[in-house]
């Protein structure tokens, strides 16, 4: 790999990591503002105008709080848990294409850290490693509530991973590729409106439900169900280690919104992106495509928050029944119908 390309990728990675962390910080603010909006309150409005410095103050406070490690906890695993959760959350975004290529300094710059052939499998793999962060943290705390939260989290995440995988298979049958770049480019037909959601409405609903469960968001936030488990798997955590668990959840939300935008909503494709003017102005195309991508991601994030402040929490048996008895059969049917449809109408 040549040096200039390596440099370009390093810059991209640093920018991406900074944006991811910034977005995660500001999503906590967004969450509180959305909650306030839905409940007809003001929300945070003291730190700066409209309270926009609130997340910075929160993050600063996290750094200066005392770090507590319970006496009978496994010390190293206790520290490793939140670290692992944060690392896995930060590296999922590596295979996501954020926009069309830019042309800077006479070079074609791809807005994707790594265009690997197995993009989707990479994301599924890293998401499953994310379970360990929660499981290790909950187990190492040596607290019954933490352990229950951790076990609930892992068993919920593995259950919904099955239907998530099955819902994705229908998409892969249509695209014939596991590369996310390829999947986005194939949705650019019909003047940039040939989005997969038009062919896969059921698959989209299944995937969205599973994404809620995978990120431990309400109504599937059983692992940190405060009415039963105090704080769930992070009961014993304080300071930045608690912060990492919370940030990891928001980063996961951001990344899964990005994946959903790419797989179902056409990623950075927007109407009339094939206009002749854009082929001579690649940087404008790149800038607009990134803006469109982020607009779609923001829409999904708002949807996540809207659902959290609207629906009550499931009971654990309802959660498992939904995952195993409804979503898996539906995903299988969806897969077979897709296959049949493609054979009959030859999409």
């Amino acid at each position: 790999m040549e040096l200039s390309l390596l440099f370009e990728k390093s810059v991209l990675i640093l920018i991406l990591t900074a944006i991811t962390l910034g977005i995660a910080t500001y999503l906590t603010y967004g969450e509180r503002k959305v909650a306030a909006f839905l409940q007809d309150r003001l929300g945070p409005n003291r730190a700066g105008i409209y309270g926009i410095f609130q997340p910075l103050a929160d993050a600063g406070k996290m750094f200066f709080k005392e770090e507590l490690i319970p006496r009978n906890a496994e010390k190293w695993l206790f520290i490793m848990g939140p670290g692992l959760a944060m690392v896995t959350a930060c590296i999922t975004s590596a295979v996501i294409p954020w926009g069309t290529d830019l042309v800077l300094f006479g070079r074609n710059i791809s807005l994707q850290v790594a265009d690997v052939d197995i993009g989707i499998l990479y994301i599924m793999g890293i998401v499953s490693v994310g379970v360990y962060g929660i499981m290790i943290g909950g187990w190492a705390s040596n607290n019954k509530y933490s352990l229950y939260g951790a076990i609930r989290a892992s068993s919920q995440m593995i259950s919904y991973e099955l239907s998530m995988g099955l819902a994705l298979i229908a998409i892969i049958m249509m695209s014939g590729s596991l590369s996310l770049r390829e999947i986005v480019d194939q949705q650019s037909g019909w003047h940039g409106m040939k989005w997969n959601i038009l062919f896969q409405p059921l698959g989209f609903i299944l995937f969205f439900t599973c994404a809620l469960a995978e990120t431990n968001r309400a109504p599937f936030d059983l692992p940190e169900c405060e009415t039963e488990l105090i704080g769930g798997y992070h009961t014993e955590y304080s300071s930045m280690k608690l912060g990492f668990y919370l940030f990891a959840e928001y980063i996961n939300m951001f990344v899964s919104s990005a994946v959903m935008s790419i797989v179902y909503l056409g990623g950075y494709n927007f109407p009339f992106m094939d206009a002749a003017w854009f082929s001579t102005h690649p940087n404008w195309l790149g800038a607009i495509s990134v803006a469109v991508m982020f607009a779609k991601v923001s829409f999904f994030i708002f949807l996540f928050m809207w659902i959290r402040w609207t629906l009550p929490r499931f009971r654990y048996d309802q959660l498992m029944h939904l995952g195993w008895k409804s979503l898996i059969p539906l995903a299988l049917i969806n897969m077979l119908l897709t296959g049949l449809g493609m054979l009959l109408w030859g999409k």
Partner: protein, 121 residues
């Protein structure tokens, strides 16, 4: 980019993420105060004194879920190579996969009828 060099940026990103996490954890442990007391280092269990070890046997349902996940996830993984090559295989491949789904469903219905998914009993 199908060569293994395409994975170098991913390694770089992992390095950046690990570096950030280690640095932040180290900094926050140095910056915060440290006033440890015997009471404070106890486990928090609703303010009640904790009883025994937390790691005692729990409901077998969770174990069963894990086993079923391993079983079915392997079968789901088998679908991936099929799905990638679906367009080339046509009707013949579809019939083959319907057979496979039928076997998958036979096992699925068996564990369902056996009550493996009954969480409220």
């Amino acid at each position: 980019m199908s060569t293994s060099a395409g994975y170098i940026p991913i390694l770089l990103q992992i390095l950046v993420a690990v570096g950030f996490v280690v640095l932040a954890l180290f900094l926050s442990s140095k910056l915060g105060p440290s006033r440890k007391t015997v009471q404070k280092d106890e486990n928090f269990e609703c303010g009640i004194e904790s009883q025994g070890n937390a790691r005692y046997p729990i409901s077998v349902k969770y174990f069963l879920t894990a086993i079923l996940f391993v079983l079915f996830d392997v079968e789901v993984i088998f679908f991936y190579p099929y799905a990638v090559n679906f367009k080339d295989m046509g009707m013949e491949g579809f019939i083959a996969v319907v057979t496979f789904v039928a076997i998958f469903l036979a096992g699925f219905i068996y564990v369902w009828r056996k009550g493996a998914f009954e969480w409220d009993k």
